[in-house]
């Protein structure tokens, strides 16, 4: 029986949510191909969440444990995933910072191309078919993967984890010998510990309309009131040095697909719209009723953000207090 390999990701001994998304997508693909799902966990010891992988669709869990796998070990991970993928019909990875580094390494080692940052996956005639945004989401490309295995990285937040109740029994997988050409020394906390805009279910982004970097405090308060929300930024304010480039949403920044996106004081330049148009619900708050952002927004408020945002934060807090 053919097998789809799902590559999971963990940090400090805990599986990341994107792992469950990848296993769910692997299950979906395996069902289309009449295949089973192996999920691989690369770590230096026990990883919390491993026992859940069956629930999300893994028939079998491969534990690739190695003392050098406390943090990401690019060469070791690539060697291990390439070895585990031998004979598999497809390999799915998260299109996270790690997955984007790892997928092409595996492809190069196995001599097959990769489809990265995929937002839709299917099968036709035994081949994997994917949809992926190009030109920062200004267009969608449909690609057929002719090689075996088909290597696909899945954009975070595009496949909600769904339960399918498989066995998910764990087995040891022997890490093959590898040469560590790169060593990851440490992970430093960012300047402000925050949820990444690509993974947050809610993103509150600000642009030039905020007038001053200190006014981003208004958006941070709104994000805090909303709960699990990240604060994003337009290119204009990142280029002006108001915000870190890691917060930038748009074609030269990040592409996000949260369930709720607030564009505050952002006019909606084409390169920004490209980065957020796949959000489920978009709210725009802008003084200018003719701003292009209102063309893509589901809900808009025309008005002074310095009046609207604090009121919105207050209403959200009230709602949270009630529920």
């Amino acid at each position: 029986m053919p097998t789809v390999l799902a590559v999971t990701e963990n940090r400090t001994g805990v599986l990341r949510k994107v792992s469950f998304e990848v296993v769910t997508a692997a299950r979906h693909l395996a069902d289309l191909l009449g295949a089973t799902v192996d999920a691989i966990v690369l770590s230096d010891g026990a990883v919390t969440g491993t026992e859940e992988l069956g629930k999300w669709g893994a028939d079998r869990v491969l534990l690739a444990t190695h003392p050098d796998f406390r943090l990401y070990q690019p060469d070791g991970f690539a060697a291990t995933v390439a070895a585990a993928a031998a004979g598999h019909v497809a390999v799915l990875l998260p299109a996270s910072a790690t997955g984007r580094d790892l997928a092409p390494r595996v492809g190069a080692r196995l001599g097959v191309g990769c489809a990265t940052d995929v937002v839709g996956i299917g099968a036709e005639g035994g081949k994997v078919l994917v949809t992926r945004p190009v030109y920062a989401g200004k267009a969608l490309q449909r690609v057929r993967l002719e090689g075996t295995p088909a290597i696909v990285s899945l954009r975070p937040n595009t496949v909600p984890p769904a339960e399918s109740g498989k066995a998910g029994g764990a087995e040891k997988f022997d890490v093959p010998p590898f040469t560590a050409r790169v060593t990851v020394k440490e992970i430093k906390a960012p300047a402000q510990a925050a949820l990444d805009v690509t993974e947050a279910p809610i993103v509150v982004s600000g642009g030039r309309g905020l007038k001053d970097p200190s006014n981003f405090k208004l958006l941070e308060e709104l994000a805090a009131a909303l709960g699990t929300a990240a604060v994003g930024a337009s290119r204009a304010v990142v280029d002006a040095g108001w915000r870190e480039h890691g917060d930038q949403v748009g074609q030269t920044g990040k592409t996000v697909s949260p369930s709720l996106y607030f564009a505050v004081g952002i006019s909606g330049a084409i390169q920004h719209l490209a980065g957020m148009r796949t959000a489920k619900t978009i709210v725009a708050i802008n003084r200018d009723k003719d701003a292009p952002i209102f063309k893509v927004a589901d809900y808009g408020i025309v008005g002074d953000l310095f009046e609207v945002v604090p009121r919105l934060t207050e209403e959200i807090r009230k709602l949270r207090a009630e529920s």
């Binding site: 092409p104 492809g107 990769c114 050409r181 030269t252 148009r277 589901d298 408020i301 002074d304 009121r311």
Partner: protein, 249 residues
């Protein structure tokens, strides 16, 4: 210090995209092309590293059609010493592009090979790291902070919720992210000098690859939204809609 930078010609990020008659590519007529913005960080870093070292050579390599010569000249005007065009229509499969680049770069004796972390057209994030794998070189991707000294590299890259710090030795391949530096604009003197710098054109043929683009489509239009109201008085209604209609809070 001998440094190569791989460069791609891409449509300007402010370009509105329309689909060509083949249904698989974009209509290029009227589109302005620019050096891939992430590759500009690589170009700047190469020029800076050579300036710091006080000696060495910088080479820009681009795979593309004849029109990419113009993009290479932009890099030469910034201060890169010489250019190589690997003349090819390109491939949807990053591995095929990486193979051609690896073949070209192998004999070059480079201490560092720099790429942008991705191209803003195909969003592949692949070619740099694949080239490194094919050459058997260490590779750190999406580098936003870099120290090169004593034959070793220490690089920082952004990961979700943190900064990953990695080390490797030279020779190495690095892919560059925004934040690494501020790319210089070509000065008039540089533009004049670029016209006289060597630019070698080498035809290459790529393999068929393992990815087939079946179609390219514009994304579905978002359904028309509505203006809930004006000013802070509209907030209560907005919150109600987000809760009861959109069900997102």
């Amino acid at each position: 210090m001998k440094i190569a930078v791989c460069l791609k010609r891409v449509p300007d990020t402010t370009t509105k995209i329309s689909i060509a008659a083949d249904g698989k590519s974009i209509e290029e007529g009227g589109v302005k092309f620019i050096p891939n913005p992430y590759d500009e960080f690589a170009l700047e870093e190469a020029i800076k590293l050579k300036e710091t070292a006080g000696s060495g050579e910088t080479v820009v390599v681009s795979l593309g059609g004849d029109v990419a010569q113009e993009t290479i000249r932009t890099a030469l005007a910034m201060g890169i010493d010489r250019g190589v065009l690997l003349q090819s229509p390109g491939s949807a499969d990053g591995l095929e592009v990486a193979k051609a680049l690896a073949t070209e770069l192998k004999a070059g004796g480079f201490d560092l090979i720099l790429f942008g972390k991705m191209a803003v057209d195909d969003y592949n994030h692949q070619v740099g790291v694949m080239t490194a794998e094919l050459m058997g070189l260490p590779c750190i991707t999406a580098v936003a902070h870099l120290k090169v000294s004593g034959g070793a590299v220490e690089a920082e890259r952004e990961i979700e919720g943190g900064i990953e710090v990695s080390t490797c030795s030279l020779p190495a391949v690095l892919t560059c992210d925004k934040g690494l530096n501020t790319p210089r604009l070509p000065a008039l003197k540089g533009i004049m000098a670029a016209k006289k710098k060597p630019l070698e054109v080498k035809p290459v043929s790529l393999g068929s690859g393992s990815l087939t683009v079946q179609s390219l489509n514009l994304p579905p239009e978002r359904p028309a939204g509505r203006i809930v109201g004006e000013g802070p008085d509209a907030v209560v209604e907005l919150v109600r809609l987000l809760r009861s209609e959109a069900k997102v809070i």
